[in-house]
Subunit: 199 residues, 2 copies
Amino acid sequence: MARPFRQQIDEGILDRAAGLFARRGYAKTSVQDVADAVGLSKAGLLHHFPSKDALHEAVLAHADALGRRVLDGVAHLPPGPARDRLAVELLVDVALGHPGVVAMLLAPVTELADGVVHETGSPEHAVLEAFGVDPDDDADPERTVRVVGALGALAVLALAAHEADRTTEWRPLVVATCLDALGHRRPRTLPSHPQQAEA
Amino acid sequence: MARPFRQQIDEGILDRAAGLFARRGYAKTSVQDVADAVGLSKAGLLHHFPSKDALHEAVLAHADALGRRVLDGVAHLPPGPARDRLAVELLVDVALGHPGVVAMLLAPVTELADGVVHETGSPEHAVLEAFGVDPDDDADPERTVRVVGALGALAVLALAAHEADRTTEWRPLVVATCLDALGHRRPRTLPSHPQQAEA
DNA sequence: CGCCGACCGACCGAAACGGTCGGTCCACCG
DNA sequence: CGGTGGACCGACCGTTTCGGTCGGTCGGCG
């Protein structure tokens, strides 16, 4: 494990595995699936990680580290448009380089819809925290919808960009789309907005 | 199929199954998974559909019908902001009522990232068509990114809203988020009645 | 009462599962 | 030059899960 070469290979494995675990769940992702995705045999993959469980934990730690990187890079700013913008920039960079990880950040949302119970250590919480959203807080539904929507857009765009091999060209477009989804094109300085809207 | 009661049950099954098939793929979704999701035993589910394959085809037809509904509802308008707005409204209605189907519309994008080959009859093409996007056309990357991003936001928001049981409250917020992601600034400062258009 | 459709528990052969083992290949070192 | 060790694989093992079947229970209805 001393060589950076080895570490680089492992990181590639972790990115691919993250996408599979995120979308299919732990139980539904076989070692063979991951091995195929990274171009190894099952035995070859288990040569890098001693067991499926160890691989899963490494993936979780990997995603957690990336999520925390975003959170730390943004911690010095107070909540507001500037922080949002920086958070989006950092997240897009992470997403375009590691698309599987972003899928993992959204996995809890999609899995809960199936009624599946999951008990992961929630690295996604770091991302929501970076945007100042508490999932259990109903006080500001617009903010919640905006942030979740922007993350959804980012997740699928990162995947599509990676697949189409357009990551560098699309990057500014992805950033703009996410910022627009957040509602940041207009000055949002109305926290006590009487938004009775329509009944 | 005589009673509407039966049809209603089947539609609920199809919605749940669509979400599972979309996110996990056909092979990775077991009959037992669908049965659990709809609260039936495996034998009970296979009483409604003669085989897993028949269930899958029914799900595809269901998604196709919903996708086509959006396309038909929008066909009378020329491409442009007005058509985009109507398409989003229709799609949001479909999505909030049938969140699993929207996940299916996006499945090709996420699956291609895994290198999986899929050969489905692509109901999602109807949706892209409604927004005037050709996936193989590089001429207007911004439009592609915008549309794909808006669909991603919609997909995860529909799931989240369904899970949090906030579909009616969140609907206008979801519409606004998707439109913003598309890059259409809402005419909120116009002298006419911008906000009440969607009621 | 008898009938029928909805639904279930138990079961089947086959396939896939996580993991092990022995071996091949090859870069590198003496 | 032989040899040493890591990366990697094919084949295999015992177990679990797969799609699907079968016989049966239950309740509504004529």
